[in-house]
């Protein structure tokens, strides 16, 4: 029997079936293998339903990330989208939709801005919000210890869950050992892996969430 997927978050033409509200996914793939682009497309797919979006840019400026988003077919709508960049005040803009924290190591600061922006969107009556984190690898690289990264990811996925949102966090498996990656995955409802097949095609596989295609799917 097929599930009633009304109200689920949809992914346009990507080979990912709709997921129930509150779901957070870890998207794992090599930095230069289209992983970031995939995650951005997963966020942009919300635009057809006028969903909100929050971007956390840890490894580049907010403006750069939003340019990447536009390149994947997204349109940064200031009425229902905002970004947090982590490069410090030197790149701080006057843009109210782009907030700055000092460094990717400032997980407390990122968390505070994130809560604040999320509340702000809810206050505007935007009930459906997609969150993207670019990238968990950067957060791990900057953090002195791993415990605060778990704390941060729990907080973020917890918010997504309780607010019936959708979250996608990018990680590069080549920069983390398998054990750390598997341990980080535990914080998420499921995981999307991305690879390039022998024929040079990009393929993805969804694990851990219900009613998804089996095995590797051509992108």
């Amino acid at each position: 029997m097929s599930q009633n997927t009304r109200g689920h978050y949809e992914f346009a033409d990507l080979p990912i079936n709709p997921v129930r509200p509150g779901t957070s996914l870890l998207v794992a793939g090599p930095a230069l293998g289209g992983t970031r682009e995939l995650a951005l497309r997963m966020l942009a797919a919300g635009e057809t339903r006028n969903e909100g979006a929050l971007f956390i840019a840890a490894d580049e400026s907010g403006e750069e990330l939003l340019a990447d988003y536009t390149a994947q077919g997204g349109t940064f709508d200031r009425g229902r989208m905002a970004a947090i960049e982590c490069g410090g005040p030197q790149i701080e803009s006057d843009d109210q939709n782009i907030r700055s924290v000092r460094s990717p190591s400032d997980l407390t600061g990122i968390g505070i801005e994130y809560s604040s922006l999320y509340e702000g969107l809810h206050g505007e009556g935007i009930e459906r919000v997609r969150t993207g984190v670019f990238t968990v690898s950067t957060l791990l690289m900057y953090a002195d210890e791993i415990q605060p990264v778990y704390r941060f990811l729990h907080t973020l996925t917890g918010r997504v869950r309780s607010a019936d949102g959708f979250g996608v966090c990018v990680v590069d498996p080549t920069t983390q050992d398998d054990r750390t990656l598997s341990s980080i995955s535990q914080t998420f409802d499921g995981r999307v892996d991305l690879r390039t097949s022998g024929d040079g095609d990009a393929e993805l596989r969804v694990q851990g969430v219900r009613d998804q295609p089996d095995g590797w799917q051509r992108l």
Partner: protein, 296 residues
């Protein structure tokens, strides 16, 4: 279930009173403090959540949380404040991670109630991965009242056998509770309970089989863990101990002060010891249940 206990710290008497009443109305047990210094003395009592303003005459809410976390790393915090995010100086507190909720005079205290409930019941500020079946797992541990099971000598024999067989510094059996790990038997020195975010068994109970860390310095999860340095732990192997329902209540572990490897045969041997320890717990519990039944 006991009420969620919350410490509300706010220098503004009126605001603090309103926050406290809102949380009490939701069935929470509330204590109050009007300054960082006063709140400090409340931190000793077991609180489940800290709700604090940011600015105080004698410090900030983050100063307070920092102290709380050093004693009790799992305790969540909601910064319930008049301050804008840009007014909050996180420079010395990058690792704390808090919930932030602005006092805006609307239904903010209703939202605060929901937030406090979420951070405590969903454990959204803990610094380690949680098993999917965490609630059921904790229920399972509660069924094994190990202290009163008179099983200590049996477990001590098993950990001694393990340490002798493997020639490691330590062999121990740890139960992974909600916030810390309790070492019910340890050969090679006693171990005081350790915060869950610092123990390796926290990770071992997530493994389907056995977790081997040949060198803690080569593993991102543990390389910066000071608690392990203090205990001279450089390598680790742990076999989860599961109930009949498959709940991992703890693990049977070995630690050593140097990197080392464990062969397939070693792992099988440890698996046998872990199964035997679990079987002992199960039998003692059954015995205990029977005695209790007969004495009625």
């Amino acid at each position: 279930m006991t009420a969620i206990s919350v410490l509300v710290a706010d220098a503004d008497d009126e605001a603090r009173g309103a926050t406290a009443s809102a949380l009490e109305d939701a069935g929470m047990a509330v204590s109050e403090a009007s300054a960082v210094e006063a709140a400090r003395s409340e931190l000793d009592s077991d609180i489940d959540c800290l709700v604090t303003e940011y600015a105080f005459p004698d410090g900030t809410g983050l100063d307070l949380l920092s102290e709380l976390r050093s004693e009790s790393p799992d305790t969540p915090c909601v910064l319930f404040t008049d301050a804008e995010p840009s007014d909050i100086d996180t420079t010395a507190f990058e690792d704390l991670v808090v919930e932030y909720l602005r006092k805006d005079g609307s239904d903010d205290r209703t939202r605060l109630r929901t937030r406090v409930d979420e951070v405590t019941t969903l454990r959204t500020q803990v610094g380690y991965p949680l098993p999917d079946d965490e609630d059921a797992r904790l229920d399972a541990i509660a069924e094994y009242d190990v202290e009163n099971l008179a099983v200590e000598e049996t477990l001590d024999r098993l950990t001694e056998l393990a340490a002798r067989h493997f020639g490691t510094d330590r062999a121990f059996i740890g139960l992974v509770h909600e916030h810390d790990e309790e070492f019910v038997s340890c050969h090679g020195g006693t171990l005081a309970p350790l915060a869950r975010e610092n123990t390796m068994c926290t990770h071992a109970i997530l493994e389907p089989e056995i977790m081997v860390v040949e060198d803690t310095q080569e593993d991102t999860r543990f390389e910066h863990n000071d608690a392990l340095d203090r205990l001279d732990i450089r390598s680790y192997v742990g076999a989860p101990m599961r109930t009949e329902d498959g709940r991992a209540i703890g693990s049977f572990c070995l630690t050593h002060d140097e990197p080392r490897t464990y062969s397939e045969a070693d792992r099988e041997y440890l698996r046998l010891l872990a199964d035997e320890a679990m079987e002992q717990l199960r039998l003692r519990r059954r015995l205990d249940d029977t005695e209790e039944h007969e004495s009625r």
